[in-house]
């Protein structure tokens, strides 16, 4: 399914050693791997660029069905996620992007 929970049991797992998403923390008699906080993918893009005309940007943040991806998954910061959601709704009203895609080929 599309909504799998991210695997959170990885902290301290030995296979995380080479992964750049993890940071090594040395304790007294053991070392632990902690998941790094991901930064916002839109951090270099100014807020004014997130508008309903920038369809390429908006389509990046839509699921296959045309739903808005939650910031829990995309790590977009709060202000930009709000701008993104408003822009997507405006683009939907103007029939630039579809409200919902129904004819998905089922797995």
């Amino acid at each position: 399914m599309a909504f799998q929970k991210p695997n959170q049991n990885n902290a301290g797992a030995p296979q995380a050693a080479g992964d750049e998403n993890y940071i090594k923390v040395s304790l007294v008699n053991q070392s632990v791997f902690i998941r790094k906080k991901k930064s916002c993918p839109l951090r270099t893009i100014p807020l004014a660029e997130i508008n309903y005309k920038n369809l390429r940007l908006l389509n990046k943040f839509l699921s296959e069905r045309g739903k808005i991806l939650p910031s829990r998954i995309t790590n977009v910061e709060v202000k930009k996620q709000r701008a993104l959601a408003n822009a997507i709704k405006k683009a939907r009203h103007l029939a630039l992007i579809s409200q919902i895609k129904k004819d998905l080929t089922t797995n």
Binding site: P41, S63, I73, K90, L94
Partner: protein, 136 residues
């Protein structure tokens, strides 16, 4: 004066001359009320993401407006009962931006369908977006 941008979708079977006449007619509503049309953009005959009033394609026109609310309200009222316009929207903006990514030409008459569009260099945003990917 406050700044607005208005987008309207015109019926697909309008001719280029009709469309430009329609745009001029709507612009006149703003200029009559001492407003200003900062710029016009024609986005071409685009296919709609879903059918709107039984149309599957439509001409998109964007007007950047600098006018009082009364002028924009009158524009919205006229657009509401014009049968050539199938959808319209007006948004307030802080500042008018330059050419939008959907820009094709300033008026419908300038647009030549056969002309091969010059491939633009990828903007800074495109380069950032290329790296964005989510495993959903």
């Amino acid at each position: 004066m406050p700044r607005y941008e208005t987008v309207f979708i015109a019926r697909q079977d309008l001719t280029v001359e009709d469309l430009d006449a329609l745009t001029a007619k709507l612009s006149k509503i703003i200029t009559d009320e001492k407003g200003k049309i900062v710029s016009k953009e024609y986005w071409g005959l685009r296919s709609l993401a879903y059918k709107v009033k039984k149309n599957s394609r439509g001409h998109y026109v964007l007007l950047n407006i600098d006018a009082k609310y009364a002028a924009v309200a009158e524009l919205n009222r006229v657009m509401g009962f014009n049968e050539d316009i199938i959808r319209s929207a007006t948004y307030t903006v802080e500042e008018h931006t330059g050419e939008s990514p959907l820009f094709v030409s300033t008026t419908a008459k300038d647009f030549k369908p056969g002309k091969v569009s010059v491939k633009k260099e990828p903007s800074k945003i495109d380069l950032v977006l290329d790296q964005v990917q989510f495993d959903v």
